[in-house]
């Protein structure tokens, strides 16, 4: 079972979307949602937070799929695969310009779908190491882990401080630690996780990141190179 890998299918032909769903289930991808227009797709991108989107290019509005692809690139940074009956070179070019993770032509073969989806799934871990995804209200936020300076816990919340912005989310430092590369971050204190590469100064009881002093509790010292 690949329940933790979430796939959103976007195709305005409901029958084809359902057929693709059956095919993915037979390949053990069971965590699926279907959207048949741009509006539904946007809702699921926000609420379902898929790991992969399978996208038809031509929907009720011409090239709607390419518009959705551009939106994914701007707002969500989720990999997507085009599934399309198009063989027109201009449209293929437009599609390729959006940097899809794959391009499958209809009528699709089961093993083509499997190979393409599996490749993305394998890349997911690499991708996740570089970025942190979380929900901020109704929006999904994606930040590069290298931009994270430090994080601080505060009862049921954590504050994540990046080079540009501060985020507050309802979660734990344990969750954060699991979702960022261990070699880059260090837990200096029950309430603090610090990006080691951003430390500019160090004392016995604290470290400094961009001028902010962060406490280091006993036994949690960092060896700076």
């Amino acid at each position: 079972m690949r329940n933790d890998f979430k796939i959103l299918i976007v195709d305005d032909e409901v029958l084809i979307a359902e057929f693709l769903k059956d095919l993915l289930i037979s390949l053990d991808y069971t965590n699926l949602k279907l959207a048949h227009n741009k509006k539904q797709a946007t809702i699921y991108l926000n609420e379902f937070m898929p790991d992969l989107v399978l996208l038809d290019i031509r929907m009720k509005e011409e090239l709607e799929g390419i518009i959705i692809a551009k939106e994914i690139n701007t707002n969500y940074k989720i990999p997507f695969i085009f599934i399309t009956a198009h063989s027109d070179k201009n449209i293929v070019q437009l599609a390729l310009d959006t940097k899809p993770a794959g391009y499958i032509t209809k009528p699709f073969k089961k093993m083509d779908v499997y190979a393409a989806v599996h490749l993305v799934e394998n890349n997911k871990e690499v991708f996740n190491e570089k970025y942190l995804l979380f929900k901020d209200g109704y929006a999904t936020v994606k930040i590069a882990v290298e931009d994270i300076l430090y994080a601080k816990s505060d009862n049921n919340y954590i504050h994540i401080f990046t080079t540009v912005k501060q985020y507050t989310l309802r979660n734990t430092l344990e969750w954060l630690k699991e979702n960022i590369p261990q070699e880059l971050f260090h837990r200096t204190h029950r309430c603090f996780i610090v990006n080691i590469t951003k430390i500019t100064k160090k004392s016995t009881k604290s470290v400094f990141v961009e001028g902010v002093e962060i406490p280091v509790s006993r036994g949690n010292h960092i060896l700076l190179e």
């Binding site: 032909e13 409901v14 029958l15 359902e18 048949h36």
Partner: protein, 207 residues
Amino acid sequence: MIFLEKESLLGEIHHRVKNNLQFISAMFQMQINSEKNVGNKAVLAEAFHRVNAITLVHEMLYNKDELEYVAVKEYINELAIKLNEIVYYKHIAIQFNLNIEDLKLDINHCVAIGMITSEIINNAIKYAFDGISNPTITITLSYNPAEEKITYIIMDNGIGLNKESKTQGLGMRLIDIFARQIDMSYELKNENGVMYIFKIPFINNEK
């Protein structure tokens, strides 16, 4: 001139689509006829009636020299006749009461309505009429321009659905799929037979 060429090209493509769909239908029928096993025959017939609902749309497009619209009244009439011919699970004569408004529908709407009708009628013929002396299927379609909605009702005077009835089967799934395809809502009533009521958003561009 260019316009005319495009028209005739489109006609040619429709003609080929129609022919190919008829090949598919013919192959189904040949296989049904050569199959000895009754269960296999039934499964093939079910697949065939689904293909048939779509084939019929293309036949009607071509026949009337209309490349975009189908007269829904004729379509449903033809569909009912064909379904009665195809289905031979039980040899019962079913009375069809059709009250269909004269409306022209685009291909998408017609295929969706056709598929749904085909599933429901097929289900009724298979399950509804055990011990019913005057099996009747009533189909009404009316358009309300103010609401921009088609109301489409299919009902039978059969034994009704029991709880174990095939509400989980592929037939029900296809009804749901084609309902979503054209944004239609539907409800299922189970009194004095089975009644499906569909509301279909539709803007009438004809006339």
